[in-house]
């Protein structure tokens, strides 16, 4: 008599299976929503994923993860109508939004099959069918009419019944709505829709059951094809944006922006050549640019001690006036010591610091603080791919790969020539030539930044690889402070100094949680036997040098009354900000105008 037990086992397994299926559906849903609505920031404006158990009339019953709706009222008169809204309103950043409802049962015989699918604003009476009231819109199955905030409908489409799949598409660019029946578009139903509408369904017949699909399953209607059309339209609009009579002005402005960007990031050679060929003046002395370049390179190569020293020499009062900045630099220095890259520990480790800069990459393209997390993430990817010629060598696991790619880059001597004799016509030629090689290597990025500065980058890469190879061949694995005992002692001593500096700062200037966290995170590195693979190991990544570098650079520029951000980065930031503002104010076209599409 094994019946009962096996039956029980079967039930259990069904439940487990159900859970798995649920997770699978959840994954599908998230994936589909991300693909359909990439511009939506769900932290700000979550997408509808199910019907809301809180926002419905009592005659409505929900089941199947709040996706199935059934009617449980009397269904005698219109007073028995009942609706339910989705959990969230449709975000404008969708651009085009779509959901489908499948009619599972048209309800008991002997009743008129009142059933409405549509949209309504928050607060619209739920004891009604969608479409009957102000800010409520619906398409009804019994007569195929559309109801636009009115008790009387307009002839719109065919009727619908059991087995039909009805889709509702909201175009947030022109604020219209159309429905679909079994994958066929029925044409515009409503225009001039208000913002922040919720998917809504209303029933009025006992036995009526409908299922919603907010992206849990593939849609019957090809909504992605419709979206493609609108993406093309919006992009054509951007491409054809009239600049009118100001064409010359336009060009001059772009040139100015590029020049200021180059100067900001201290690409002196390129900046000078660019300024010359476009007939512009450079608003900063060349020597000053060179100084900033020198400091940046030190920071980016992890030689913080030298960087701080040089800054103090060249800009004596800067760090004195900015103790928080100094503190940040020192914390970074501590991290670099752990890393074994700071000049102080390098000396102790028996490796003389290279006279050549060893930071591989150019500063990050746009690191303006204006960026939202999501957008800067994309920049980072772009940045990473810049690294395929060996920059990632500081990450242990990619070392082998980096070595291989090194020989393909330009030999380092070229670099010296280039940096040493900037401004001369021959070198411009050399640079261009190198650029060509650079491209033929197939590792280049297409951004203008990569183009103009890529060559020097490559020269340094090789240097960096050499350095790492040396470290690697000498020591089988990464070690604290490069493995030297003396260096470790120096690091610990430096840590103590840092601690007291922090206390001093707190006394002088009050609590600063950012500083506190920074120090805590840095010290945490010592809590692990292998800091590189620890949860706080990300700090050791060379990418982390960039914000430090950029903050220092901006501080220096500010003291010279120059903008702390290049106008180009500012413009990009502004564009990104503008798009998120559009999303917030309900302009759907932001969905198809990603800044990233224009930054390659």
């Amino acid at each position: 008599m094994s019946g009962p037990s096996s039956g029980c086992g079967f039930l259990m397994s069904v439940v487990v299976h159900g859970d798995l299926a649920l997770n699978e559906q959840e994954k599908d849903l998230n994936q589909r929503l991300r693909r359909l609505y990439p511009a939506v920031n769900e932290e700000e404006t979550p997408l509808p994923r199910s019907w809301s158990p809180k926002d419905k009339f009592s005659y409505i019953g929900l089941s199947q993860n709040n996706l199935r709706v059934h009617y449980k009222g009397h269904g005698k008169t219109p007073k028995d109508a009942a609706s339910v809204r989705a959990t969230h309103p449709i975000p404008a950043a969708c651009g085009v939004y779509y959901f489908e409802v499948k009619i599972i049962s048209k309800g008991r015989d002997g009743y008129v099959k009142y059933m409405g699918i549509g949209l309504s604003a928050q607060g619209v009476n739920m004891n009604r069918l969608p479409g009957w009231d102000k800010h409520s819109y619906g398409y009804h199955g019994d007569d195929g009419h559309s109801f636009c905030s009115s008790g009387t409908g307009q002839p719109y489409g065919p009727t619908f019944t059991t087995g039909d799949v009805i889709g509702c598409c909201v175009n947030l660019i022109n604020n219209t709505c159309f429905y679909t029946k079994n994958g066929h578009s029925l044409g515009i139903a409503f225009t001039d829709l208000p913002p922040n509408l919720y998917p809504t369904v209303g029933l009025q017949t006992p036995g009526e059951v409908v299922d919603a699909n907010f992206g849990q399953h593939p849609f019957v209607f090809d909504i992605e094809d419709y979206m493609r059309e609108w993406r093309t339209k919006i992009q054509a609009q951007i491409d054809r944006f009239p600049i009118g009579e100001r064409e010359g002005e336009w060009q001059a402005m772009i040139q100015k922006m590029v020049a200021s960007y180059l100067v900001h990031h201290s690409y002196c050679a390129t900046a000078e050549v660019f300024a010359k060929s476009t007939d512009q003046a450079v608003h900063e002395e060349l020597a000053s640019i060179k100084n900033r370049q020198k400091i940046q390179k030190l920071v980016l190569s992890g030689r913080m001690g030298e960087a701080i020293e040089t800054t103090q020499q060249l800009y004596p009062s800067l760090l004195e006036l900015n103790p928080d900045l100094l503190f940040m630099l020192k914390v970074r220095q501590f991290i670099e010591m752990v890393n074994g890259t700071d000049s102080e520990v390098r000396c102790l480790g028996g490796r003389s610091p290279k006279s050549q800069d060893s930071y591989p990459g150019s500063p990050r393209l746009f690191n303006s603080p204006v960026h939202k997390a999501s957008s800067s993430q994309t920049y980072q990817t772009g940045f990473d791919s810049n690294y395929c010629n060996g920059v990632s060598s500081s990450k242990g696991h990619t070392l082998a790969h980096s070595h291989k790619s090194c020989p393909r880059t330009m030999p380092s001597p070229e670099l010296g020539v280039l940096n040493g004799s900037r401004g001369q016509q021959t070198n411009v030629g050399a640079e261009v030539e190198m650029e060509v090689d650079h491209f033929s290597n197939g590792v280049s990025e297409s951004s203008s930044n990569g183009f103009l500065n890529g060559s020097s980058t490559h020269g340094i890469d090789l240097e960096e690889c050499d350095g790492d190879m040396e470290v690697d061949s000498a020591q089988s694995k990464r070690q604290l402070c490069g493995g030297s005992q003396a260096a470790i002692e120096r690091m610990i001593q430096f840590g103590r100094e840092l601690q007291s500096m922090s206390e001093h700062l707190r006394r002088e200037r009050g609590k600063n949680s950012a500083n506190k966290k920074m120090l805590k995170d840095a010290f945490s590195l010592l809590a692990y036997s292998d800091p590189w693979i620890s949860p706080v190991g990300y700090q050791l990544d060379s990418i982390r040098r960039e914000p430090v570098c950029s903050t220092l650079n901006s501080a220096i520029l500010e003291t010279h009354n120059l903008p702390k951000q290049p106008p180009l980065a500012l413009a990009v930031g502004q564009a990104a900000q503008c798009l998120s503002l559009m999303a917030r104010t309900g302009s759907g076209s932001c969905a198809f105008a990603s800044v990233d599409d224009y930054l390659h």
């Binding site: 029925l186 044409g187 090809d222 993406r231």
Partner: protein, 674 residues
């Protein structure tokens, strides 16, 4: 050469205006030094680019024959020959007159000859010029097929370069106009050669390749059936076409891909319920009808859609509710709009040019939409001013519009409800009658077919049409050479005679004339014969009418009936004839025509024992009428027929397995018992 010389008078008249520089360019072509000739051609090339006047001048001055001579001379350097081809290509880019002059100078065979050269650059220059010449409407496409070696050679050149691909596919796409052209191209492996170009990286090549498939597949079952099995890079061709219909693709590409799938579907190569038709092609074509599209695109979209769904009611239903198509089409009638007249002349001109095309396309699509479904017809007639538009369309000057309008009317006339309401309210019979007076056959066929429906018994338009002298018109149609017109003519008369007044019937018989009536009874077209018998049957209904007609035409009618019953005819024809006989047997005096005709009675006896139940039924019905009790002389007839053995047959038939036949025989037997 000859053709160029013929233009001499023109040359003189224009000569005065020709500038000295133009003459100088031509003169240099005759320089003894080949190097100078080459430089001359190059200079000429630079001079004619974008300069239509210069082009015309050079043609008038006879540059073309000289250029062709240099191009064909094997002693010319390859560079010179190439430059000549380039200049000729440039001249072809001018006006249609330029093209005419070039074709008259036999440029086509010369350039085709040039394709035999091994040099790719030269070949490309020749192809480019050929392309420009062939895509002009003034060039006879037949010139591509005169030399049978040309097509295979073009096929072999196809894959040489991006340009050969583009030019050759463009030539094919423009020069494939008849089923014969399709067959020639198909037999030279056009499909296999062109299919890979559909995924070419060049937009132009892809587009031209796609156009090739649309012209190859049009109404061609062989091509369509082959296409469904073609794979392009491992993907079915239909899927490649579906991808080309994506909404972000150029409109021309979407439309042409939809045409390809439409033609494949109509040829039976793709089912109408296939997703690529129902969910992709149909919505794509509906989109092409939208106001956002260019007028040309809207015309092509509507025509293709009409063609796609013509035979399939499900597609018609889907289209009828897709994107408000029915009301979207109403917009086709608003050109030129009042706005376009005000804004600018150019726009007005453009609108005027397309107005006819738009209207006929909309009528065609309405006709296709409404051909089966009553609800759709109702939706169409309820569209704003629809009936008025049809009425005015019937009398438009453009034959294309008239034909499409009458097709639309015909489609809607299949609705009983519409015949009773909107058709009568708008007196559509008036313009229809007018149209029938003087129109080409294709219009007449549609119009007369529509008239058949309007003459149905329940149609309120029947009376006014009768009063308008339609009988003469229909009788003249029955004398047409076209079987379709003869059928429609006699069909309309048949409908008209159904339950008609004595007066109408007499008028029909008079107007048609017995001679014509009997001619129609021996018509080679079965349809004509059937409808003629139907007419006779309708004429011979109700006793007084039967007696009246039989008294005047009895002899001929009995002859005709005999003839048909003795001839080789289908069961349906014979059944209809026996029914006529049964009607005759129902007359008071007419009966005697049968009773006194022993031969006929033997025939009826024969059919009562026929293996086909329908014929047995009709023959029994006839006998039943003859022996009917209540009429004068029934006793004699009963006796005579009894003597002839009919009672025995009837008795046998009361045991028949067919219940109708059995009943009929029993009813007849009762006449004897009473």
């Amino acid at each position: 050469m000859m053709a160029c010389l013929l233009e001499a008078p023109l040359r003189i008249s224009v000569l005065s205006e020709v500038t000295a520089t133009s003459r100088h360019y031509v003169d240099r072509l005759f320089d003894p030094d080949p190097q100078n000739v080459l430089q001359g051609v190059i200079d000429m090339k630079n001079a004619v680019i974008g300069n239509n006047k210069q082009k015309a001048n050079l043609i008038v001055l006879g540059a073309v024959p000289r250029l062709l001579y240099l191009l064909q001379q094997s002693s010319s350097s390859l560079e010179l020959r190439t430059e000549c081809a380039v200049v000729l290509g440039s001249l072809a880019m001018g006006t249609e007159n330029n093209i005419k002059s070039l074709v008259d100078c036999h440029i086509i065979p010369a350039l085709l000859q040039g394709l035999l050269c091994s040099d790719l650059i030269f070949i490309e220059a020749c192809l480019r010029c050929l392309r420009t010449v062939f895509i002009s409407p003034v060039t006879p496409v037949q010139l591509l097929y005169t030399d049978p070696t040309v097509i295979p050679h073009l096929m072999s050149l196809l894959s040489r370069s991006r340009h050969t691909k583009e030019y050759i596919t463009q030539i094919f796409a423009h020069c494939c106009k008849t089923p014969e052209h399709q067959t020639v191209l198909f037999n030279h492996s056009a499909i296999q050669n062109i299919a890979p170009l559909l995924i070419s990286p060049s937009d132009k090549v892809r587009m031209q390749a796609l156009k090739c498939f649309s012209v190859l597949a049009y109404e061609n079952t062989q091509v369509s059936m082959t296409l469904v099995n073609v794979l392009v890079d491992g993907e079915q061709l239909s899927q490649v076409f579906v991808r080309m219909m994506q909404r972000d693709k150029p409109i021309e590409m979407q439309l042409t891909a939809a045409k390809c799938l439409t033609y494949m579907c109509r040829a039976g190569a793709i089912r109408t319920d296939d997703n690529c038709i129902i969910l992709k092609t149909l919505p794509c074509l509906v989109r092409m009808c939208s106001k956002e599209r260019l007028l040309e695109e809207r015309v092509e979209g509507a025509e293709t859609l009409a063609y796609l769904m013509e035979p399939d009611v499900e597609l018609q239903r889907i289209a009828s509710f897709t994107d408000h198509l029915v009301s979207m089409l109403a917009d086709y009638f608003k050109y030129p709009s009042s706005v376009s007249a005000i804004t600018d002349i150019k726009r007005l001109d453009h609108d005027l040019k397309h107005a006819h095309e738009l209207r006929q396309a909309a009528f065609k699509l309405y006709a296709s939409l409404g051909s089966n479904d009553e609800d759709i017809r109702k939706k169409i007639t309820e569209t704003e001013n629809m009936m008025d538009r049809i009425v005015s369309g019937l009398s438009e000057s453009s034959i294309k519009v008239r034909l499409a309008a009458v097709r639309c009317l015909h489609s809607l006339s299949r609705s009983v409800q519409q015949l009773r309401t909107s058709f009568h309210d708008h007196a559509v019979w008036k313009p229809l009658m007018k149209l029938l007076q003087n129109a080409p056959d294709e219009v007449l066929v549609m119009a007369s077919s529509t008239l058949c429906n309007l003459l149905l018994e329940f149609s309120p338009s029947k009376e006014p049409i009768l009063d308008s002298g339609v009988i003469e018109l229909l009788c003249s149609l029955t004398q047409s050479d076209s079987p379709a017109l003869r059928v429609n003519g006699i069909w309309a008369l048949m409908n008209m005679a159904f339950q008609a007044d004595q007066k109408v019937k007499v008028e029909i018989v008079r107007a048609l004339g017995t001679e014509q009536l009997f001619r129609l009874l021996s018509d080679p077209d079965t349809n004509v014969l059937m409808k003629t018998l139907g007419l006779l049957r309708n004429l011979l209904s109700t006793r007084p009418h039967i007696d009246q007609i039989m008294s005047s035409h009895g002899k001929q009618i009995m002859q005709a009936v005999t003839l048909i019953l003795e001839g080789e005819h289908s069961i349906e024809v014979k059944e209809q004839t026996l029914c006529i006989l049964a009607n005759i047997a129902d007359g008071n005096t007419a009966k005697e025509l049968i009773m006194t005709n022993d031969d006929m009675l033997q025939k009826i006896k024969y059919y009562m024992g026929h293996s086909n139940v329908k014929l047995q039924l009709a023959a029994t019905f006839c006998i039943s009428n003859l022996i009917w009790n209540e009429e004068d002389g029934s006793q004699e007839r009963q006796d005579k027929l009894k003597d002839m053995g009919f009672v025995d047959i009837l008795h046998k038939l009361t045991q028949a397995s067919d219940p109708n036949l059995c009943d009929r025989a029993k009813t007849a037997m009762q006449q004897y018992l009473a």
